[in-house]
């Protein structure tokens, strides 16, 4: 089934306790696309880059089945750039530099060839941009998934709430779920968020895994326990890409199948953090993903005698 992915494509400069990345390819849309194409092809990318974004990276994405017709290249400006430094716990980080550049006035245009998509994955971007994409689609996708972050809750809450009211699956992390609802209990926060519109809510908890809420049902997915998290950048986006890719491949958007999709997302996220940037997402093959999914099964399944 066809998928539209909307998200930033950018440069990152990352420092972790394990080393420095220097300037490498990043951006939510990039991670989502590299993760999703392990399950489904083609995916239809919507993004914006500057003159400095390497043509070889676009070519690499195209080779993997990413349509780039709606990846706008702005000839006289630079790509979005972010520099950050992770703390020892790898769960918190300081932003050192944010240069919006082309992302500052990004106005996505959905081409005719993208219409009729079954899945829409809205990566973390200004809610107004996310809303603009939704409004440009002539037929509503079967499933709209939206990722966001605390920043938009601080500076664009009304637009974010409007966007959230129009989607099917919201992706946030635990502190964002708490901020959005003023509830400490994630179960209470989930009830409030599901009342805002989405039929499904995924709360990401980093090394503690993820929760899926739907009506009165809950599913808990673990994160793979790793010796070292080398670079957490893009883990949430890889999760989103694996999730939507698995759903699009299987074509089944039931709660039961979303459980498996969350495990697929967790598997892609577990690869992502093993090296800097998108390195691992590019290296892994079908067998690696198959083995990792098997590891998740052993990690979570048990037989009880009672």
């Amino acid at each position: 089934m066809s998928v539209i992915i909307v998200g930033s494509m950018a440069f990152d400069d990352i420092e972790t306790p394990f080393g420095k990345s220097n300037k490498i390819i990043g951006g939510a849309g990039t991670y989502i696309a590299y993760a999703a194409t392990h399950f489904v092809q083609p995916v239809k990318q919507v993004s914006v880059v500057g003159y400095d974004f390497p043509e070889e990276e676009l070519e690499e994405l195209r080779k993997r089945g990413v349509h780039t017709e709606a990846v706008e290249v702005v000839k006289d400006r630079k790509s979005f750039y972010w520099a950050g430094k992770y703390h020892l716990d790898m769960n918190t980080r300081d932003t050192l530099v944010t240069e919006l550049n082309v992302l500052g006035d990004f106005k996505p245009v959905i081409p005719e060839s993208y219409q009729g998509a079954d899945f829409l994955m809205l990566g973390n971007l200004a809610p107004a941009v996310q809303l603009s994409v939704i409004s440009q689609l002539k037929t509503r996708p079967r499933l709209i998934i939206l990722d966001t972050m605390n920043f938009w809750m601080d500076v664009a809450l009304p637009e974010l709430e409007e966007a959230i009211s129009k989607i099917d699956v919201l992706l946030v992390n635990d502190s964002e779920a708490r901020q959005l609802t003023a509830e400490y209990s994630l179960v209470k926060a989930a009830k409030k968020i599901l009342a805002m519109g989405p039929k499904y809510l995924i709360i990401k908890k980093g090394e503690h895994g993820a929760l899926l809420f739907h009506q009165n049902k809950v599913f808990v997915a673990p994160a793979l326990p790793l010796e070292d998290v080398f670079d957490p950048t893009g883990a949430g986006d890889s999760f989103a890409g694996g999730f939507v890719g698995y759903l699009a491949k299987t074509g089944d958007i039931s709660f039961e199948n979303m459980k498996a999709a969350i495990i697929a997302g967790s598997a892609l996220a577990s690869f992502c953090v093993e090296k800097f940037g998108t390195t691992r997402l590019k290296e892994i093959a079908k067998e690696d993903i198959h083995d990792r999914l098997q590891q998740f099964k052993e990690l979570t399944h048990y037989q009880t005698e009672l």
Copy 2:
């Protein structure tokens, strides 16, 4: 199979954001016994109380299949008493009062009727006390499980390390695993701890569930997502009780069955936190536990098409 439980029996005074308990029955050994007897009877209790510990509570325990021959009653001293106040996040707490009383010079004596037990559950106590119990057993139990806490790492590390070297399953929480090994990564911490003697390590992560490590294998159990954690006191001990009770009932100490035992422990812990003290552990019946175990299955199991 027969089980010996060693642990404190005490009074607690608990304040949470939901209210105050006043002085109620607590103690690791009490929680472990109430939880374990939902799966296996009898259990053989080793503890010490003062003249103020209510005879009705001992009678209640006996009715549930707890042998109290080795619960020493000291006629002229008071029972162990702890008062604490939980913060809003329910994961951190301040100790307001600790009165060791009879626990200060507790010297457990294992009676002849307790010899030959298959399981030994050493609740959190001074490592010297735990070691004394191990040394008094004429035949080594099939499985020795030890719970401990950061306090003993601070004040009695050599004895704790000696105790850890003699057991099969160590129970600690995530920050204790990190303190014991000076490793931030729980996977690295687990490797170091397994090299200290135990064949199995369980790392408890509160609302984030628990990890079981054995050789190169890992299992992740979730905690049940709850609207409110009313009182977290005793959750870890209820977990331990459910864990050892399930193993003793099934008689199977394989890694595969320990997975199910950890789910059983998590189920008992999820009941414990619903009300103050041991209230819920006393209320629940077989059907409640059966339903809760079913909830855990739905929470964790999924079918994947890949």
